[in-house]
């Protein structure tokens, strides 16, 4: 019996088919990873609620942003704020290292709240609801919201030495499962109300929370500027078809990158896989502060 040759099968596909297959593979792997992490978090939350005396991890203890919330207190006193544990520091450090090495792929591939927003985009598509277009100027201003939220959280976390944001955090409101196990708890309603607003906004604007309010996203967008790997557009090869802009879930317009895409990129790779022109958009490395370090005569993207 003849075994099929994968190389021969690939070459028999048209370029369009190859591209479609690549989009499907990368998207599939991404959504599978997001789902796996979300399931892990839900299982942890259920264990925390059901086995209250076991010391099982809460969703607060499994959030890398906890490291940011306790950072000032930790640096000034050596202590952690309430509900924050060494696990937060480990996760925070891991996300920081990963972002500096390969860029921010945490938001696009791992964050369970990002997965929820991707699911909402899928729901919007199924319901044939139109997306709300956000004018470019307003979009730029609203993106500063992440840093406002970040500053407020850092201030109150430090001055109260508590996990102040937990009562307002839509991620905790959803994944903490207090709404399921403690529906009588009056403190959950603030978080649930904010969650409802975020869900509504994310149905209108893709990944609205990530774009405009996520404090961890704000931190990672700053770190992303120093990343060794960045998605790079080759202006001489790019045909300005804008297919990458339509694919981008956070609306950063890779087609206008000059040459590195915005540090607001969440590393989903949808723009790279969608690009119909080979080499017009590619992950480039090594990059130093947004400038590609030439190895040899030029980058691969430019050679093509």
């Amino acid at each position: 019996m003849r075994t099929p040759n994968p190389t021969a099968r690939k070459s028999s596909l048209t370029r369009f088919q190859q591209r479609t297959r690549r989009i499907r593979h990368v998207k599939g792997a991404r959504h599978l990873t997001q789902l796996a992490v979300a399931v892990l978090i839900v299982v942890a939350a259920v264990r925390h609620q059901v086995e209250q005396d076991s010391g099982a991890a809460s969703v607060d203890a499994l959030c890398p942003f906890g490291a940011m919330e306790t950072l000032l207190t930790w640096l000034t006193s050596g202590a952690l704020i309430t509900k924050i544990h060494p696990s937060n520091l480990v996760l925070g450090l891991a996300v920081l290292v990963a972002t500096l090495l390969v860029g921010n792929a945490f938001c696009g591939w791992i964050c369970p709240f990002g997965a929820v927003q991707d699911a909402l985009t899928w729901v919007r598509g199924k319901l044939h609801l139109p997306a709300l277009p956000v004018p470019r100027g307003l979009d730029r201003v609203l993106r500063w919201g992440r840093f406002v939220v970040l500053a407020v959280i850092l201030y109150f976390s430090y001055t109260t030495a508590t996990l102040w944001f937990a009562d307002y955090d839509p991620y905790v409101a959803l994944f903490g499962l207090h709404w399921l196990f403690e529906p009588d708890n009056s403190t959950i309603w603030i978080g649930l109300s904010i969650l409802a607003a975020v869900v509504a906004a994310s149905l209108l604007v893709e990944r609205a929370w990530c774009r405009y309010l996520c404090p961890l996203g704000g931190v990672l967008s700053v770190l992303g500027r120093f990343s060794l790997f960045r998605i790079r557009r080759a202006p001489t090869t790019c045909t300005d078809c804008s297919l990458c802009d339509k694919a981008c879930p956070v609306g950063i317009e890779p087609s206008k990158a000059a040459p590195m895409v915005s540090p607001d990129c969440i590393g989903c790779m949808d723009c790279v896989t969608t690009c119909p022109v080979r080499g017009a958009l590619a992950v480039d490395a090594p990059v130093l502060l947004g400038t590609p370090i030439r190895l040899g005569s030029g980058s691969e993207a430019e050679k093509r």
């Binding site: 203890a61 990963a98 591939w109 490395a285």
Partner: protein, 107 residues
């Protein structure tokens, strides 16, 4: 130098879960402040944690639980019992925080 689209996501997942694995192996991975309470062991004010019940705290501090409940809820209207954990007191007694309560006990 063009690299594969898989590098960033795979590296991110590996670094994240690898860090958790290394932290677990080295004993750094702690997800809860909960520790086993030894009967009869004296607790300091700083040892009070949100997960502790008022009975556990009273036993550790060496004071009657009724006295501790009165300190926590002077009005007596919040329905606090010896089995109530400090973190649940925060939900029932307005303005109560464990850190502020530690300060009060210290004074």
């Amino acid at each position: 130098m063009k690299t594969s689209v898989w590098v960033a996501p795979v590296a991110s997942v590996v670094v994240l879960f690898g860090s958790v694995g290394i932290a677990e192996l080295t004993g750094v991975w702690e997800v809860s402040g909960r520790t086993a309470l030894v009967a009869g062991e004296q607790l300091g004010v700083d040892d009070l944690k949100g997960w502790m019940t008022l009975q556990q705290a009273a036993d550790g501090l060496g004071m009657p639980v009724a006295e501790l409940i009165e300190l926590v809820d002077p009005s007596g209207n919040a329905g606090i019992t010896p089995d109530t954990a400090f973190r649940d007191v925060e939900d029932h007694v307005e303005g109560f925080t464990i850190s502020a309560f530690r300060e009060r006990l210290r004074r």
